[in-house]
Each structure stands twice: as C-alpha cells, then as structure tokens.
C-alpha cells in the first residue's frame, strides 16, 4: 500500500485568464474573482490523478478539504483520506505551507501538488525537498522546472515513479518576484530544489530511464572539464544540480544553491557573494566561470546566480565562460536559444553569440545565447 500526498492550490491560474499576472496576494485574487475568473487548478489535478486509477487499490491519497485537494481526488474517482478541517474560501500561502508541513510527517511515497510558482516555493519552504514531488501545472507563469509540461505528463510521471521506472533529479525551484515583475523589472531568485522524478520518454521517448545514463553523462562532462583545468586558475562554479554533481565527480564539494570558487582542486570560497568574488579576482585574475542553464527557461546569467555579477563577468571575460548541460536538458529547449539577463544591458548584448556547451566527454553542442 503506497501513500501519496495531494495539495491543490485552488487559486493558482486565476490571474491569467483575466489578464492579470499571477495570483499571489489577496488583492490580486479579489480582482480576479471580480473579473469572473474560475479557479482551474482542480481540473488540472483531476486530469493528472486519473492516470493513477490503475493503482487505485494499492494507493492511499492523503489530502486537504474541499478545493485544497478533496474535490479533485474525488472527481478523479478516488476515496481520499482528508486531513484538517474545511477552511476559508480563499486559501493563502500559509494554508498551503501548513498542509505540506503536516503531510511531511506522514510516510509518503510521493507528494503531488497542483499550482504555480508560488505553490512550488511554498512546498519547498515547508520541507518538501525531502520527498519526491510531482507538480501539476495550473498557474499562469510556470517558471519552475519542477512542473511537468502538462497535467497529463504529471500523471504519467507520477505513475511511472510509483512503478519504479524513474530516477529522481534535484530540480530548481524559482520564483519571479511578483511585485518587481508588475513594476516591469524582472528578476528571479533561486529558492531551492525539489526531488522530481525524471522519465526519459518525455525527452527522448525511450521506454524507461536508466540511472546509469544520467550519471555517466555527468561523469563525462566532469572528465572533459577536469582535463581542461589549469593550475593557479580560479574556477567560479554556479549553482544547480548538474554543476553540483559534476564538481563532486571532480572530487570537490559544492553547494547546491550557491556560487563557489575553486583553486588547484580545492574550494576557496563557499556560497559566496559578488564582493568576495571581486576580491578573489584581484588575487587570481586568471579565472573561468562554469555555469548551467537554471530553471526551465534556459537562463545562463541572472536567474539564481546573480552573485556572478556584471563586474565579475567582465573581469573574467566572455571567452572564459563555460556552459555545461546534459543533452536531455538542452534538448528540452527545443532549439530555443538560451539567454542572459545580468541587469547590465550592454554586457548582455556583448555576451550574445554561440557557445560550445559541454554535453559529455569531448562532446559539445554549439548553442545560441541571446539577451
């Protein structure tokens, strides 16, 4: 008997249909209802849950009352265990967090959630990175790679995970800062990571994922980088699960969320900031930057690695920037260019061009980066 948790953020997706951006913040929600928005996170959750019906007899769904999951589970044909009491009509982030916190205490195989970027952030801050999660996209501006591409895909992914056919990937949780976005300045933070199952068929169509292939790819990238490393050169390595795994393959520790600096095979700055990097650069002017596209949208600089600031980038120089990526991640962009958003418009323009992205040992993809 497997237990899965289900959390639906019933407000998610509210703003988009009526032309508002996002639905965090009570006043936006109110405006959306005034304009006649109908929450559809529940519908999306139902679409995904239907995929699990084949396991109905072996599955217990733990969820929250009413529109926080109970309705969706029942509509999909399950008899869920409902925790907590019925609450307000309009839920808040606090409700989501509280729900997730409670669920963390249960012995869950998987946590499914339906919502938007805000919901993913709430899941993470409630400790959701401890267990496998599958996100059903329902929000307007899905920037997090933790969401499946489509509610159906989320359902397939959950089913495959429960059948033991997937591997888990640390996947970035981002959030566009809503206020800044509405004021026209766009900047996203890297909040954390959730463990999301990875099924090759959505990327490659093969029948099942193999843990070996992913790690052997990363090993290959690590080997390629390792062979290029020079003594007395500082390596500034950006955040991300790929960079973490690769750095560890090279025998060095790495922070998942932060920028770290290395010299002669040892870490010399951990989870560092812009000013420390600038200082280090004066001591070690021969430096290289290693980054990977962050989040689901393909950003190289400016999402989650702002510590590698325009000043740092200028000091290192465009030709000493290395981008790494597994071929699967790259291929998911379907040929759309990667991009940079350092905040320095002139620098962004200068950084445009083609980069040989390291995708394996002696394997590169000449990929376009724009601003």
């Amino acid at each position: 008997m497997k237990q899965i948790g289900l959390v639906v953020n019933p407000i998610a997706g509210l703003g988009g249909r009526v032309g508002l951006k996002g639905s965090d913040g009570a006043h936006i929600q109110q405006r959306a209802f005034e304009l006649g928005a109908i929450p559809h996170a529940t519908d999306r959750a139902v679409e995904a849950l239907k995929y699990l019906l084949s396991m109905k007899n072996d599955l217990d769904i733990l969820t929250y009352p009413g529109s926080m999951g109970e309705i969706a589970a029942k509509q999909a044909g399950f008899s869920p265990f409902v925790m907590g009491q019925s609450i307000y009509e309009h839920t808040t982030a606090e409700d989501t967090k509280r729900a997730v916190n409670e669920l963390m205490n249960k012995d869950l195989s998987l946590l499914m959630f339906a919502g938007g970027d805000g919901t993913a952030r709430d899941i993470y801050s409630a400790g959701g990175s401890e267990i496998p999660t599958v996100g059903v996209p329902a929000g307007v501006k899905i920037h997090s790679a933790v969401y499946a591409i489509h509610p159906r895909a989320a359902g397939e992914l959950a089913l495959a995970y429960l059948h033991g056919e997937t591997v888990l990937n640390n996947t970035e949780v981002m959030d566009i800062d809503e206020e800044e976005f509405r004021q026209g300045r766009v900047s996203a933070k890297l909040y954390g990571f959730l463990k999301v199952p990875y099924l090759q068929r959505f990327v490659q169509g093969a029948k099942s994922a193999s843990p070996k292939s992913l790690s052997s790819t990363l090993e290959g990238i690590a080997k390629d980088l390792f062979e290029r490393m020079c003594p007395d050169t500082m390596y500034i390595i950006g955040p991300g699960s790929s960079t973490q795994l690769i750095t560890e393959h090279m025998g060095m520790k790495k922070n998942l969320l932060g920028v770290d600096a290395y010299l002669n095979g040892r870490m010399i700055a951990s989870d560092t900031n812009e000013s420390t990097l600038i200082e280090l650069l004066t001591n070690y002017p021969a430096a290289e930057i290693i980054v990977t596209p962050i989040g689901g949208q393909g950003c190289i600089f400016g999402r989650g690695n702002q510590q590698i600031s325009p000043a740092v980038i200028r000091a290192v120089g465009k030709t000493r920037i290395y981008i790494i990526s597994t071929p699967e991640k790259l291929q998911a962009f379907k040929g759309r260019p990667l991009w940079v958003d350092t905040g320095d418009y002139a620098l962004d323009k200068a950084l445009c061009g083609y980069y040989p992205i390291i995708t394996g040992y002696k394997e590169y993809v000449m990929y376009k980066v724009t601003s």
Partner: protein, 464 residues
C-alpha cells in the same frame, strides 16, 4: 527534364496519369517544383552518364549471368582455401529460411509487428550461448574482425586501461583492422609465439604483462591453424594482473573443442560464417561477442542485445532491447561505439544451422573435420621436401604446409595446381615472411578421401 513517359515496374506511380493526378493534389505543375529548395547552381545539368539499361528482366538476367559466368567456382575447382572464409555444407533449410521474403526484407519494426525477427535472433544468441556456455551473446556485428576489435575496446572501457596484447600469429588483415579501430587511444603490444607450438610464448607474456593491460587476446584455433595449448596459463596470468582475457574461436569447432570459458576466457568472439553461410566471395561473414551476464560487461556492448520478457497476457512472451540506453541509438556519441545495420540475417541463418545440427551433429562435424585434416597431414608428410609440421601442435581444420625445401614458391605451386583444377592453400609468404614459402591449407567435411588424395597426388606431380 523532359517528361519521362516510361512506365517502370519497380515504380508504380510512374504511370503518367497517376503521376499527373498526384501532382495536382500537391498543387505542383511538375516534379521539378518539388525541388525548389535546391539552389540552381547545385542542380545537376542533364542526365547522369550511366550505361544504357536492360529494361526487360530477361535482358538483365542475360547481362548479369554473362558477367558472373566468367567466374570459376569451388564446385568446378577443388578448394583448400580457408583463412577466415570456409567452405562448409550449407543445409537447404538454411537457404530456404534466409530467402523467405519476410526475413529478407524486414528491418526495424517493433517487437510486435516483427516478433518473429526478434524471436529468431534471440534463439540464435541462445544457441550460441549454449555452444559457448556463456549467458550473453550479441545480435551479430559486421564480421569476426569487428567482434575482435570491439571486444578489445570493451575490455578497455571495463578496466579503464588503454593497452592490449595480441599474439604475433594473428592474421595481418585482422591486425590491420584492429590497428585502425584502436589506434587513436589504445596501445597494441605484440607477444611473441613459441616457435615449437606456435602458441603464445609464456615467458614473453610474463615479461610484458603489467597492471596497465586491459586485455590479453588469443585465438583458438589460431589463424595459422594450430590449437593454443596454454589457454589456462594465459588466462591466469591475465587475471592476476586484472586484465580481461578475450579468445577468438571457430564456432564450428565447439562441438568437439572446449568452449574458452572453461579455461578462463572472459569474452569470446568469432565469425559465424561457417554456420550455414555460403562463402559469397567473403560476403557471408558475421561476428559474435559473448560474455558472462555481469552488468559491467553487458553495459559495454555496443550492439543490440535482445531480452525475453512477459507481455500483458499471461503465458505470452515477447522481446525487447536490453539496456538500450548504452547504445548510440539512444545516446548518439555518448553511447558505446556505434550500432547500426550489420549482419542480422546471417545470425538468423546460424540459428537455423545450429538447430538443424543439434549437439550430435556438431560433435560429428567436428570429429569428421579432425579426421580429414589429420588424414591430409599424414598424406602430405609422405611428400618429399614438404613440411606439414611447422608447429608441433594439433590443428582443427587448417595447418601450414611449408615448401622451402622444394625450392619452389607457393605462388608457382598454386599456379600449377590451378592448372590441375585445384585452389591451393593461402600463400602466407608475404604475410609472414618468417614462415618462408608456406601455405595455409584447410580441410572440412566437404572434402572426401578422394579429394584429399587428388590434392596430394597433384602436389606430387607439381613438385616432381
């Protein structure tokens, strides 16, 4: 180009009315419009300068037959050539099955519409597995040379080392292939042979072997025909240094000879041409690679490996690719080497052959071959100045005959034998100068006593 009004039997829509109808449906006035993406300067002007065609099937047949009939075959001449391609009897059922249209023209369907293809290849690998007593056998690669070269690379990947050892008695063609396939990143070290037996010189092997060696490779029987008598010692030495032992075998010998796994081989390779393929002027080759069922070995195969699995219907079984991810189909350049079209139909044929022969047939054919090659050796030893015992080791179907004492070259002798309707053994004099004027003679179950006596008496006449 002018409208081609000819209607071609192989091209159903070349009929002008059909063509016109189809053009209308794609909104084009002529086929030329469909090539609009090709820049004018790249368009070939005029027609290719090719020979005039034979449009009727009858004329085509006459033309091709006329050319092929210039050949003299091993049915017209008595053939004692071997050296990697062998004249064995091809059972009628083998030819029947590999000329069936479904097997002949299938390619890459799913395990549903091509279930028969998967099953017949699974059965081939399974029968080879019994012959070799190993649990993993690949869907065939191009030929025995590729099997050997790939096995050497596999050993390097498995051990993470980049040096391999080969006996200096391997054929120069195989050595050439291995050199081309390995030269970029793997060092080849040649090991001397024992002048008495031909086998690997154990002293030299001991001298050269280190813990940087990925693989020790030898053949049993050797390209030069003799059996390697020190297999156990060689594999032990390899293993004590952490190296993998690869042995190349002649599969048709395995009804009477011990499979190399029994004396310590880790990977066994070879060519299945003797198992039901005509010689085809060298076109009947196909390679096999076999190993134990260990993940670290399996994951290094570049070829397809078929596994048997249950379907959703109880009691029903189907097939699929094992660990598909390791191949270049799944991972492009990150896969192992590459995988592509190779020699599948010959694999199916070899399966038919082994099923026809069964354990008893394989025993009898091996025994019969030994009888005949022994007899031939004994008869040859009666010839003056002819040395049939260059190496003091038993052979399977081939052995070296040395003519130094006769004062004649192999080329001259073979020319003379040709005049008597005989294809003499392969001239080794350029390949192995240190063997002098030597030829490699091959005897199989196709040779009668009469055939062998005829060879010996012809040789006697030629040398007189």
């Amino acid at each position: 180009m002018a409208n081609n009004k000819t209607v071609y039997p192989y091209i159903p829509n070349s009929e002008p009315n059909i063509k016109a109808q189809m053009l209308k449906e794609v909104n084009a006035n002529s086929v030329n419009e469909l090539y609009s993406d090709i820049p004018a300067q790249l368009r070939f002007k005029g027609q290719l300068n090719l020979p005039a065609p034979f449009t009727s099937e009858y004329a085509l047949r006459r033309h091709v037959e006329k050319i092929l009939e210039k050949n003299k075959t091993t049915k017209q001449y008595l053939n004692f050539l071997g050296a990697g391609c062998y004249q064995h009897h091809v059972p009628a059922v083998c030819d029947e099955i590999n000329s069936r249209g479904e097997f002949l023209t299938a390619y890459a369907g799913e395990p549903y519409d091509d279930h028969g293809r998967f099953q017949s290849l699974f059965e081939y690998t399974s029968m080879m597995a019994e012959l070799l007593e190993m649990d993993v056998v690949n869907v065939p690669t191009y030929d025995g040379f590729q099997a050997a070269a790939t096995a050497l690379r596999m050993a390097c990947r498995i051990t993470n080392r980049n040096k391999v050892m080969l006996p200096e008695t391997i054929g120069r063609d195989l050595l050439s292939k291995i050199r081309d396939f390995l030269k970029f990143d793997i060092e080849i070290i040649m090991v001397k042979h024992n002048p008495l037996t031909g086998g690997i010189d154990l002293h030299h092997l001991k001298e050269l072997i280190t813990s940087e060696i990925a693989a020790v490779f030898f053949e049993n029987p050797s390209y030069l025909g003799f059996l390697e008598l020190k297999g156990t010692e060689i594999t032990e030495m390899a293993h004590s240094h952490g190296a993998i032992c690869i042995v190349n075998v002649d599969p048709i010998s395995l009804g009477v000879l011990e499979p190399p796994i029994q004396y310590g081989a880790d990977i066994v390779v070879g060519d299945i041409q003797p198992l039901g393929m005509h010689m085809l002027y060298g076109g009947g080759q196909a390679g096999f690679i076999a190993s134990r069922d260990e993940e670290k070995y399996v994951m290094q195969y570049p070829s397809r490996l078929f596994g048997i699995v249950p379907t959703r219907v109880k009691g029903e079984y189907g097939f699929g690719d094992v660990a598909y991810d390791r191949t270049s189909f799944a991972k492009r350049e990150e896969g192992n080497e590459w995988v592509g079209t190779a020699s599948a139909l010959w694999g199916i044929t070899a399966g038919v052959y082994l099923a026809l022969m069964g354990p008893q047939g394989m025993k009898e054919i091996g025994e019969g071959i030994l009888y005949r090659s022994q007899y031939a050796k004994q008869e040859m030893s009666k010839l003056e100045n002819v040395n049939d015992g260059v190496f003091q080791a038993p052979q399977f179907k081939e052995f070296i005959v040395n003519f130094d004492k006769t004062g004649r070259t192999v080329a001259e002798i073979n020319q003379a034998l040709l005049g008597k309707g005989i294809f003499g053994g392969k001239d080794l004099s350029r390949e192995f100068p240190w063997l002098g004027e030597s030829a490699l003679y091959c005897f199989t179950e196709v040779h009668t006593k009469e055939d062998i006596d005829l060879l010996v008496s012809a040789m006697r006449e030629v040398l007189a």
